[in-house]
Amino acid sequence: MEAADATADTALAARLADDLDGSFEELVDAHAGRLFSIALRILGDRPDAEEAAQDALVRAYRALSSYDATRVRELRLRGWLATILVNICRNRTRVKRVSTVELAFDPGAEPTADPMARRDEKASWARRLAQLPPAQRMAVVLRHVDGLSYAEMAAALGKPEGTLKAQVHRGLVALREAYLAEDRREREEMTA
């Protein structure tokens, strides 16, 4: 599937090089969802994520209109767009020192306090993900929510692949531990 995406992106890059205004909407249709998802899982807030994704697409358009056709044709859109988005997300979290992630997913609110919450598996994983340190979260989101390759991630984040693999690994271990800890607490409460 990733290979199919890459082929589609190469064809799209060629169309963008020929006729930016005529094919930019295709780029939006193909990438708005994934950019929004990445931003949502990094920033933890839907309106923020929507703004960040729109900002990334607008910047992409401006960049594309300033590049010459050869440069546009050679772009690897998935990784390139992720790079733009990651920079926007970093700036936003830097400005918002009190991250909305911490507020939205208050670790003090014990998951076991609300048994209904546990049933929503997706929300639970989103919450656990939000509790990861920012660098690990960024790496895990790009690798496993978006499905970028380590090579694409290295380009987007400006870090060596080895570092990113380690970050993803540590992130997954932390997620597993968080899951197991919640599981244990729940069992203890049931037997108490």
Binding site: R34, E121, H144, R176, Y179
Partner: protein
């Protein structure tokens, strides 16, 4: 996946009890909100939003995108407007409840005569000549008019009087670019793209001008008005001409006649350029 602990040792017993973390993370991808694509396209100028505002001519539809206001139009309804807009620009327009606050205020101020109210315009797809004509029309103050020939001369194309008329007829943002303030070189009101000549008279009247008086002068062959105290001559609607009291008012049929009488041209309305072109 196989899960390793911190020392990197796999724990298959644990793995079997765990849901796949990778699959769980993959399910955290979400579709983009529906409005994200449209908003992005509007921001870069590949689609537009529009809203309805009131005017002396009735409800107007105003379209805008990230580059500026692209269209001002009288339309029967949203459907007719959207069809016409797409046919003309190749872009979709989506109705919004109202203009963005700042744009709404700027348009209100501009229509009230404040030329400093900043309104970005999206005039893509039009020729340099057309844009030059429209930008020049923007300089005409509320309550005044200039002949087509004046625009032609001011933009350095004194012979292109008819082309100026055509360009004004194609003005995509009437009222904001006040093409209604440009009249025929003989002083009669002339045509108007926003619903015809009658609307032009309505708008000019709303701006404090008397179209009948203007055409009366035109019929009498009066092109310029001067003051025998300053010995300056103006176009009849120039604010300086209108300040001249009846007692000191002198009327001329041509710039040559004004000059022969020892008058010089007003530096504000620059009547002589119009005469050259007419």
């Amino acid at each position: 996946m196989t899960i390793h602990d911190r020392k990197g040792i796999a724990d298959p017993a644990l793995d079997s009890q765990l849901p796949s973390i990778e699959a769980a993370l993959g399910s955290l991808a979400e579709p983009a909100p529906a409005r994200l694509a449209h908003r992005t396209l509007v921001a870069v100028g590949l689609a537009d939003d529009y809203a309805v505002i009131e005017s002396p001519l009735g409800p107007l539809r105003v379209a805008w995108n990230g580059r500026g206001v692209s269209t001002v139009e009288l339309a029967e309804d949203d459907h007719a407007f959207e069809l016409g807009f797409f046919a003309r620009t190749g872009r979709r327009a989506m109705r919004q409840p109202e203009l963005p606050a700042r744009l709404g205020q700027a348009i209100e101020r501009r229509l009230a005569g404040d030329r400093r109210a900043r309104i970005d315009l999206d005039l893509r797809g039009h020729s340099e000549f057309e844009r030059a004509v429209w930008l020049k029309a923007l300089e005409i103050p509320r309550g005044e008019v200039r002949p087509y020939g004046w625009i032609a001369a001011e933009i350095g194309r004194p012979k292109a009087v008819r082309a100026v008329g055509t360009a004004l007829g194609h003005n995509p943002v009437p009222l904001i670019v006040p093409c209604h303030r440009v009249v025929r070189s003989d002083g009669t009101i002339g045509q108007y793209s926003l619903g015809g000549a009658e609307n032009k008279r309505t708008i000019l009247s709303a701006e404090g001008l008397d179209p009948d008086e203007l055409e009366g002068l035109a019929r009498a062959g009066i092109r310029y008005v001067g003051s025998d105290t300053t010995r300056i001559f103006c176009l009849p609607t120039c604010r300086h001409a209108r300040r001249v009291t009846e007692r000191h008012r002198v009327e001329f049929r041509s710039a040559a006649a004004s000059r022969a009488a020892g008058y010089r041209a007003c530096k504000i309305c620059r009547p002589s350029v119009a005469d050259v072109a007419a």
